[in-house]
């Protein structure tokens, strides 16, 4: 009887055992096999750092996908390292206080990371590179700069002509003295870093000089320690430098202007002149929105001929990238966030006040074969606003200033960064 009970019991349990025991056996055997063969070569997990969460307003999703390359995920440690490198004038490979130049020399936080008219190194806003034998006063940058703001949300290409974009398969750039070899791609913000370091009209140094300089710095900050925190070891390379700075630049996000707070309904209203200006901007009266559109980014990040000229001699316009004749004289429509701080305006810096810019679109448009059809009143020179309407439009444009962004200490020069000239 006992035997019969045992048999029945086992038979009853059999289906259950089949479900549990058989697979478990296979797994156990498998693990033993693998462990037995690989016990000497099991690798530690790759270093990853602490993920960095891009600042955005809470609640409703307002923002486009972030343009973050898969080989450079953002981490808190890389952003921190990048912030030091961004402001460190020794990245130019020089120690002399007159010759040091960092990204932050030109890209001033108080001007939305643009040069500004009152830049102490470049009064009037015309930037130039560190002097050399060929250019004893420094070589002028071919274009006036664009602000470093919300670049992480730009999926349409960087620079005035969009040359740096995901579809660019070129390596390096002769004009910027960047070698035409891996990893010097021309696809994303990392490319802007090595272009900025190597270009004669910017930091004007060699790759090796910049790297060796950073390797030599052990205090204020201790770069070896910062690189270890960011990458898991102390190796300092050009690739790692560019990735860290790119991470910091991607962290520069602005969304707290008075206008943004109003559309999020965090403040009840705009002032009467500001609201009148808003209606001019967001209607076909001023028609700013078609190019500087997107109610959140205040740019489409696309490219237009906005009636500046009829003869086009610039070798770095949009035509230089697309080779489409209709792109002669075409440039990016930049963001208007913080626009009251980012003079001079246009790719050639021809305008120094917002009033001049508004006058351009009101009466001074110049026709050409490649004029954008959005410049609809080209036959009349522009949209012809009254003087009071221009005042209102400018009042609205000033609501786009994000005072939190331009004073945020996490974007500022680190207090403990000492280049010997601070």
């Amino acid at each position: 009887m006992k035997k019969l009970k045992l048999i029945l019991f086992s038979v009853t349990l059999l289906p259950v055992l089949k479900v549990i025991v058989v697979p478990l056996t296979f797994v156990t055997v498998g693990i033993s096999f693998i462990a037995g063969d690989c016990k000497d070569t099991i690798l530690p997990p790759p270093f990853s750092g602490t993920p960095y969460e891009i600042d955005r307003p809470s609640g409703k999703q307002w923002w486009p996908n972030a343009n973050i390359p898969s080989d450079n995920p953002m981490t808190i440690e890389k952003v921190k390292l990048g912030r030091y490198l961004f402001y460190d004038g020794r990245l130019s490979g020089r120690l002399g206080c007159d010759s040091q130049m960092s990204c932050g020399t030109c890209h001033l936080q108080k001007n939305s990371f643009e040069v500004g008219l009152d830049n102490p190194r470049f009064p009037g806003g015309r930037t130039k590179g560190i002097p050399d034998a060929q250019y004893p006063q420094g070589k002028y940058t071919p274009h006036y700069m664009l602000p470093l703001i919300n670049l992480v949300f730009n999926n349409n290409g960087y620079l005035w002509n969009g040359m740096i974009n995901k579809n660019n398969t070129n390596l390096g750039s002769a004009a910027y003295k960047v070698p035409a070899v891996e990893p010097y791609h021309m696809k994303n913000i990392e490319s802007l870093v090595w272009m900025g370091i190597a270009a004669q009209h910017e930091l004007n140094t060699t790759i090796n000089t910049a790297v060796n300089m950073i390797r030599s710095i052990n205090s204020n900050p201790n770069y070896h320690q910062l690189f270890k925190e960011a990458y898991g070891d102390t190796a300092i390379t050009y690739d790692r430098i560019s990735k860290a700075i790119a991470c910091f630049v991607r962290s520069l996000v602005s969304y707290n202007s008075k206008y943004h707070k109003w559309i999020r309904k965090e403040i009840p209203k705009l002032e009467p002149d500001e609201f009148r200006g808003y209606t001019i901007y967001m209607s076909e009266k001023g028609d700013c929105f078609h190019c500087h559109g997107d109610p959140v980014l205040l740019t489409t990040n696309l490219f237009y001929n906005n009636g500046l000229d009829s003869i086009f001699n610039d070798t770095r316009d949009r035509f230089a990238v697309t080779k489409n004749l209709m792109d002669k004289g075409v440039y990016k429509a930049t963001t208007l966030i913080n626009v009251e701080l980012t003079a001079p305006y246009m790719h050639d810096g021809r305008y120094t006040t917002l009033r001049e810019v508004v006058d351009h679109y009101s009466e001074d448009l110049i026709n050409s074969n490649t004029i954008d059809p959005l410049m609809k009143w080209i036959a009349y020179g522009g949209v012809h606003l009254k003087e009071s309407e221009k005042d209102d439009l400018i009042a609205f444009l000033k609501t786009l200033t994000d005072y939190d962004f331009i004073s945020n200490p996490k974007f500022s020069k680190p207090a403990d960064l000492d280049t010997g000239c601070d």
């Binding site: 019991f9 959140v296 489409t300």
Partner: protein, 281 residues
């Protein structure tokens, strides 16, 4: 009850439950289905549209050229011969078409399409108001079609269409036009926007200008496991005629705040589309 039975019966019940639970109910019978794919093409005067060349003349006598066309269709519906219809909304309820982005000129619909005979298709040009929510698109290119909130309100988030180009104005100057269709604003006879009082507040009154396009005599058969490809053609010259002869000199270069112009364009839109090709993919 013997100890044996007290042991075995619960165990048998438990095992039976396991077996029972492990055997899911059989699936309902699957309807035979195929797939549908759309291609989009843009024609002017029965020929493939040519861009950036001042070569066209509309029925109003305007010499004009085409720069780009960007538009949405939504709630595409396939109408069966037996009266049934199928709205294609399983993955997305809309598709965006852009003559500057070749990948948008093809739409491989995810929905499974019941096999059978179909006789026509229809779609909403643009979006119905309840679907046209501001900020629903955050990524380009769709996000760049936003229609300002000031002009469209809560049910007017996006352009239905941007048809941009140039025409020669009465002074013979090549001038840009933007035939942009979307939500309009109710206006009085003087062209001033009308407001209505809502409690202590007031709001502009908006006009929905979307419309349903029906393309009849589009006979096709969906076969099991096969994909049917339909080519939808926008005959661009039709935006300027039938029933209204649209004159750029009458309305000028921008129309987003001109409900009379938007109405004429909308009325002309009903016969802009044809299906130029139906074939197995």
């Amino acid at each position: 009850m013997s100890t044996f039975l007290k042991t075995i019966i619960p165990l048998l019940i438990a095992v039976s439950m396991l077996i029972f639970m492990g055997c899911p109910n059989p699936d309902p019978p699957v309807k035979p289905s195929g797939k549908i794919s759309f291609k989009f093409e843009h024609f002017v005067n029965d020929d493939t549209a040519r861009f950036d060349k001042l070569i066209y003349t509309n029925d109003a006598g305007n010499e004009w050229e085409l720069s780009l066309v960007q538009w949405f269709l939504s709630d595409v519906t396939l109408h069966k011969k037996d009266g049934d219809s199928l709205v294609l909304t399983k993955w997305t309820f809309y598709h965006y078409i852009d003559t500057d982005i070749p990948s948008t000129l093809t739409w491989d619909v995810v929905d499974n399409i019941d096999t059978g005979e179909y006789e026509s298709i229809s779609f909403i040009f643009g979006f119905k108001g309840e679907r046209n929510k501001p900020y629903m698109f955050v990524n380009p290119p769709e996000s760049q079609m936003f229609w300002p909130y000031y002009l469209g309100g809560d049910s007017g988030g996006y352009h239905y269409m941007k048809l941009n180009g140039f025409w020669k104005n009465p002074s013979n100057i090549r001038t840009g036009f933007d035939l942009h269709l979307g939500v309009g604003q109710k206006q009085d006879i003087n062209g001033n926007r009308i407001k209505v009082k809502i409690g202590d507040d007031s709001s502009f009154v908006f006009v929905q200008n979307w419309f349903r396009v029906k393309i009849d005599n589009t006979n096709f058969t969906i076969q099991e496991g096969k994909t049917k490809e339909l080519t939808v053609r926008m005959n661009i010259e039709s935006w300027f005629k039938t029933p209204n002869i649209y004159d750029h000199n009458k309305f000028g270069p921008n129309v987003m705040e001109n409900q009379k112009a938007l109405t004429e364009i909308k009325e002309n839109g009903f016969d802009v589309f044809t299906v130029s090709s139906i074939k197995d993919k």
